[in-house]
């Protein structure tokens, strides 16, 4: 018995333990369509898209220490570009790739200016650029459809040079595509953040001066970070366009940039899995609270206030700081 509790205590933090959790989570995601209705799948897809956006925010905020109010702009870039390509009759993959590419190009161009600043000026500049994209999507009627947005975006089939051709018109089919794309994207980000580049990002967050003393260009690294973040937001948007089949300018409004910020904060911003946990909790909370009361925003506001004032590490931070030690001590006492 002692042996069992000891291994439990040791394994709670271990890599293998995390892998088991992760494996179970992924299996759960893939068997979900077997026993759930379309509404739940739709919710999970929304969660996945919010999750991508949250990673985009967390990469900037949690890892590099920059708060962007303009991520919705890149999200809209991805959504509109993908919508346009699909409306032109292309298949799904080119739509997604072009959506991400357009967001990346926008992020490189705008990021060139944004990364010169930090803190408040960075936040303000991203806000300005995001709102510029918003006014473009609203007023450039010929291209974006104005306030009505793009309507009737087809959920095109996923085909690749006659090698395979998978129809995407049902919700479960598209669900698998979204989940696969999201998981791959998150895995790539995980690898990036655990590479030297990821360490540079965190170094910039902790001390910009020291990083530049080592001989690393802070500005260039920030631009890379900003571009990657833009691509993740763009991917979220590109996945959204065929899901909703309509895209309206409100996607790029700055208020939309705050959802992923809140989700990140909820989940925990100094933690890699924070955005996943945060997006899931955010959606569940919203779904539950909206059933009971009209005053969803009030409760959300209060939750954020409490989080900012007390648990800046979010759920995952609290888990690490309080629950994990408590669990360990309980297990030790048991032994």
């Amino acid at each position: 018995m002692t042996w069992l509790t000891n291994t439990l205590v040791l394994s709670i933090n271990s890599h293998r333990f995390k892998l088991v959790w992760l494996g179970a989570f992924i299996i759960f995601l893939f068997i979900l369509p077997l026993f759930s209705g379309d509404y739940l799948l739709y919710m999970v897809m929304q969660m996945a898209i919010l999750c991508l956006l949250s990673y985009s925010v967390n990469l900037l905020l949690g890892y590099t220490g920059l708060l962007s109010f303009g991520q919705a702009g890149f999200y809209a870039c991805g959504a509109y570009a993908c919508g346009k390509v699909l409306l032109a009759g292309a298949s799904l993959l080119p739509g997604i790739v072009i959506g991400v590419a357009v967001a990346a190009i926008a992020a490189i161009i705008l990021g060139f200016f944004c990364v010169r600043h930090t803190a408040i000026y960075f936040a303000m500049l991203t806000l300005a650029f995001g709102m510029m994209i918003f006014s473009l999507t609203q007023k450039w009627v010929n291209f974006t459809g104005g306030d009505d947005g793009l309507i009737g975006i087809p959920r095109a089939a996923l085909n690749f040079f006659y090698i395979f051709n998978i129809k995407m018109d049902t919700i479960p089919a598209y669900y698998y595509f979204v989940i696969a794309a999201t998981l791959i994207a998150i895995y790539i980000l995980y690898r990036i953040l655990n590479s030297p580049l990821g360490l540079i990002f965190q170094g910039i967050r902790d001390s910009e001066t020291r990083v530049s003393f080592v001989g690393i260009s802070v500005r260039k690294s920030r631009l890379i970070c900003f571009t990657i973040a833009g691509m993740y937001a763009g991917l979220g948007g590109a996945l959204l366009a065929p899901l909703e089949q309509t895209i309206t300018p409100s996607a790029s409004h700055w208020i939309n940039s705050t959802d992923p910020i809140i989700a990140t904060l909820l989940g925990g911003m100094y933690n890699f899995s924070g955005p996943i946990v945060g997006s899931v909790i955010y959606f569940l909370l919203k779904d539950i609270i909206v059933r009971f009361t009209m005053n969803w925003m009030l409760i959300l506001g209060i939750i954020i206030i409490i989080l900012v004032l007390t648990f800046r590490g979010g759920v995952m931070g609290a888990f690490r700081a309080y629950l994990l030690p408590w669990l360990k001590s309980r297990l030790r006492q048991g032994a």
Binding site: L61, G65, L67, F113, R116, H117, A119, I120, Y121, A123, M124, L125, L127, A128, F129, M131, M132, F134, S135, L136, Q138, K139, W254, I255, T258, I261, I262, L265, M294, N295, W296, M297, L298, L300, G301, I302, I304, I305, V308, L309, R312
Partner: protein, 287 residues
């Protein structure tokens, strides 16, 4: 040319609303170092309080402004004393997120209290009517707004430059620790400064009720142009906020006349260009 003058005057009166919001934003940022995203919500609360006392309680126009000032002052006090004070030491990102949360709270509270009804403007009889300017009817109330905005600007300048309290504010703004060391009660001063900023927002909100439709989304809508203004003038500079408000008010009003298509875009473009070329703004660096 007549069009131009008339529209510029219109722009001037909308510039005054921008100025009133931006002034409070600037005081809160300059003294407490907090960029209050919920400042627009204080403006909105000012409008709701003034509307309630004018329309529902039937007080006169001036008393309803006082009512709004008291109400928003109390809200500002509670906000600073119990929430913002705990966050001054944290990175600016947390301040932005915290004050954003207040937008959600205030928007929802107004929805709960006043419902989702729009506040339909009702002009007090005192200001009804128009006077001809360049051969066209110009509302008297808009002239009053221009006067009130300039009055607030002069009053602020007098308070900041000519009173002991203003001196303390400036001292705290430029060198917080030093001011503390020579015996200024910084926490109390910060509370007072924040309440003062909230009062400026309340004046703006209260003055807006006769001509502007107000609903529970105004808080988030009014803050972005105010950001544009403060950024252009220079964060923390009152002079900058005033000039920035004039520039933005007049430009956007002229854009609506000549190129309505890209009015919004131009505003954000100006903001972005100023931030890129001169992030401290037109009047940054000097207070």
């Amino acid at each position: 040319m007549d069009n131009f003058i008339f529209q510029a005057l219109n722009g001037l009166s909308s510039a005054m609303f921008l100025w009133l919001v931006a002034a409070g934003l600037t005081v809160a940022f300059g003294v407490c170092g907090i960029l209050n995203i919920a400042h627009g919500s204080l403006y909105m609360m000012g409008a709701y309080f003034a509307f309630t006392s004018f329309q529902i309680l039937g007080l006169n126009f001036w008393l309803s402004i006082v009512f709004a000032l008291i109400g928003v002052g109390i809200i500002g006090f509670l906000m600073e004393r119990f929430f913002l004070r705990r966050i001054y030491a944290q990175p600016i990102e947390f301040q932005l997120i915290l004050t954003f949360a207040f937008i959600l709270v205030f928007d929802n509270l107004t929805k709960m209290i006043w419902g989702t009804m729009l506040i339909i403007p009702t002009m007090p009889s005192l200001f009804q009517g128009t006077i001809p300017i360049v051969g066209r009817p110009f509302p008297i109330y808009n002239l009053f707004i221009i006067g009130a905005g300039i009055g607030v600007a002069v009053g602020l300048w007098l308070i900041m430059e000519r009173t002991w309290w203003g001196k303390k504010l400036r001292a705290a703004a430029s060198e917080r620790e030093m001011a503390n060391a020579i015996g200024i009660n910084i926490p109390a001063l910060f509370t007072a400064a924040f309440v003062f900023a909230a009062l400026l927002a309340a004046i703006g909100g209260a003055l807006s009720t006769p001509i502007r439709v107000c609903d529970s989304g105004v808080g988030g809508a009014v803050i972005i142009p105010a950001f544009v203004v403060t950024v252009i003038g220079g964060l923390g500079s009152l002079k900058g906020a005033f000039v920035g408000a004039l520039i933005i008010g007049v430009i956007s009003s002229l854009c609506t006349l000549y190129i309505p298509f890209i009015e919004l875009f131009i505003l954000y473009l100006i903001m972005a260009v100023v931030l890129i070329i001169r992030p401290q703004g037109l009047f940054g660096g000097e207070r």
